[in-house]
Amino acid sequence: MTSPREAILARVRASLADTPSAVAVSRTYRLRGERDRAGVIELFVERVRAYEATVVVADDPGAAVASALEAAGARRVGIAPDLDRRLRPPGVELIEDQGLDSRDLDGLDGAVTTCASACAETGTIAIDGGPGQGRRALSLVPDLHVCVVRAEAIVETVPELIAALEPSAREGRPIVLVSGPSATSDIELTRVEGVHGPRRLVVIVAT
């Protein structure tokens, strides 16, 4: 008896018997942007803000993290064990995620992470589990996510973002793209901030 796998592949081949060989894909669309560094950062800030996230451009990201946490009233905050010392504000109870269970994460007021790269045109940050980012649950379960973005990690277009992330995918690392806080348009197609993911997103651009 043929297995479902063999049967499906045989059906696919039979369906394609009369089909000429594959069409070539021409990538004539924009593969990179044209803005200068300052222009890219400016666009990123504008686009993240459009999602109702808080955006801060700071040359002292540690201080910016401290004031973001204070403004949100966050006292117990989760971080990855390898988060840069300079991003750990004093006076806040920082809990290193050494495999906290989901309920522990749910009890936190927020999380502070870095990100792998970011895209200006779409106001997107990308997390791939690299240094300072922690595992995915850390920036998902708590209701506040403070994310520090290095200015030089911001690219202008989606193709540049995907190119920057491809090595992580090849290594089998999970990736999350975040564009604004959790939202839904399920009620009358009106975007409402905040369902299951963090309802508050603070993006700190470190220049």
């Binding site: 297995s3 696919v12 089909t19 060989s21 309920r103 193709p159 995907i162 491809e166």
Partner: protein, 480 residues
């Protein structure tokens, strides 16, 4: 309150009717029509705005169509590569020829885990195969975690839109539903408050979940990366927190390269929710030690897709990335809503895909006729599917099938009767007699039961006049 007290099956099992029949009912529901008109109008405006700001939109559409065509033309090789990549990354790949096989695989996997409930993130593929019913039948409780799916599940209804399954309900109706079914009599109709109620209701389910089930928007064959695009964070919850993740995906969702996401992640969010990017996109590759589920299963589903693939004229329908832009612009959908389509695939894409996927018999067979061929769907489709042409093609197939049916046989008899003048006049006189019990005010108002009635009810038929032109001519007083 527990989900097991719900009985979604009851409302769902109403006997499916043909599109014209179901549409007649839907047209009479003014609230549904008003809700849909309101929602689709705002989404169309948003989409147009974010599409206009992309200078190379047409080039992206062409590339998106080409990547999909390339995939379909070598689908066997792409699927084999995808399978190998996922296995290399620690995942398991299953193949299902049809809905029953897919459901059996998923139920078996959930049982093997000993789980009595699963959290689910919205997936058209699992709607299509009616996975929830299969799970319930096996004593497993599926918990829909998308706000709209939750609304639909609580109401015991079926989804009515690809992207916004509860588009037919307005905020007041949702408030009333939540008040009753979530035991929250305090709720107002403020969408923020309604979303918060769903957050509280589902959080506990996420935290305790051991098995999750998702669909997939894309699967990159070269890296084995699965992509799920969403807004609320329930997709992230489902793909991150449980021990075991099961993804059910139609075979046409594969794409050759991770790189191809650079095209689709521009086309999809702008076309579907009218955003530059949706809030969350999850990309995972097999399993990752220390981050997320320790087991990942991909179920590759055929269920009619190879049948679509075999028809070169209908094949481009498999490019569809389920953005729902075509639905939002469709004048027929805007009037009837999604339920009249009787399949998870509503609107123009549903009209071409459902008859091909779900078979050409029964309710969905009438779908290719649910269009005025205005072409608005083709204009917005991000992967350039020429929906009107495929509709015409599908109509052709349906008509060819009908030729051998009652209409075809009757037309043959009429053809003989009308071949001579005497025969034609005899037929008219006979028709006048026969129509007497059926006609009213110059129109055929009643149809006999059976196939003739089914044929007639979808048409506006004038009754035969009391006197034909020929009879009047003959009976004039003036000499000819």
């Amino acid at each position: 309150m527990t989900h097991s007290s719900l009985d979604p099956a009851a409302a769902r099992d109403a006997r499916p009717e043909s599109f014209p029949h179901a549409a007649t009912g839907a047209l009479a529901n003014h609230q549904v029509r008003a809700n849909i008109r309101h929602a689709t109008t705002s989404i169309r405006r948003k989409r147009a705005g974010v599409v206009a700001e992309v200078p190379d939109w047409e080039l992206l559409r062409a590339a998106g169509a080409a990547i999909k065509d390339e995939t379909l033309a070598s689908l066997d090789a792409v699927l084999i590569e995808l399978e190998a990549s996922i296995q290399a990354a620690g995942g398991t790949v299953h193949w299902a020829r049809d809905a029953a096989e897919a459901n059996e695989i998923v139920v078996g996997l959930v049982r093997a885990e000993g789980a009595e409930e699963v959290v689910k993130v919205k997936s058209l593929a699992t709607d299509e195969i009616r996975l929830n019913e299969a799970l319930e039948g096996a004593g497993i409780r599926p918990i829909e975690t998308d706000l709209a799916e939750l609304i639909v599940q609580l109401a015991g209804e079926r989804p009515s839109h690809l992207l916004v399954p509860a588009i037919h309900k307005n905020r007041v109706e949702i408030r009333d539903l939540f008040r009753e079914r979530l035991g929250r009599p305090d709720l107002s109709d403020d969408p923020t408050e309604l979303a918060e109620a769903a957050r509280l209701h589902l959080r506990e389910a996420f935290l305790r979940a051991r098995v999750a089930i998702s669909g997939a928007n894309f699967a990159a064959a070269d890296t084995g990366t699965i992509c799920v695009v969403e807004s609320e964070g329930n997709g992230r919850m489902c793909t991150t927190l449980p021990d075991v993740l099961i993804t059910v995906m139609g075979i046409e969702k594969a794409i050759p390269r991770f790189r191809d996401l650079e095209v689709f992640l521009q086309l999809l969010p702008r076309s579907s929710t009218g955003e530059r990017m949706n809030p969350y996109t999850s990309l995972w590759t097999g399993v990752c030690e220390g981050d997320g589920p320790h087991a990942f299963h991909l179920v590759l589903l055929d269920a009619g897709r190879t049948r679509v693939l075999a028809d070169p004229a209908g094949r481009p329908a498999l490019r569809c990335i389920r953005c729902s832009a075509c639905i939002n612009v469709c004048p027929v959908y805007r009037q009837t809503g999604g339920h009249a389509y009787h399949s998870p695939y509503a609107g123009p894409i549903g009209a071409i895909l459902a008859p091909q996927l779900l078979g050409e018999e029964g309710a969905v067979a009438s779908l290719p006729f649910a269009s005025s061929l205005c072409g608005a769907c083709y204009d917005v489709c991000p992967v350039l599917i020429d929906i009107p042409s495929i509709l015409v093609h599908e109509r052709g197939k349906a008509v060819a099938r009908e030729r051998s049916g009652i209409e075809g046989r009757s037309l043959k008899v009429l053809g003989k009767a009308f071949a001579t003048r005497a025969g034609y006049e005899r037929a008219q006189r006979l028709g006048r007699k026969l129509q007497r019990p059926l006609a009213r005010d110059g129109w055929i108002a009643h149809f006999p039961p059976g196939p003739l009635g089914a044929w007639g009810r979808s048409r506006d038929l004038p009754a035969l006049p009391a006197q034909t032109f020929r009879e009047w001519w003959e009976s004039r007083d003036e000499p000819a």
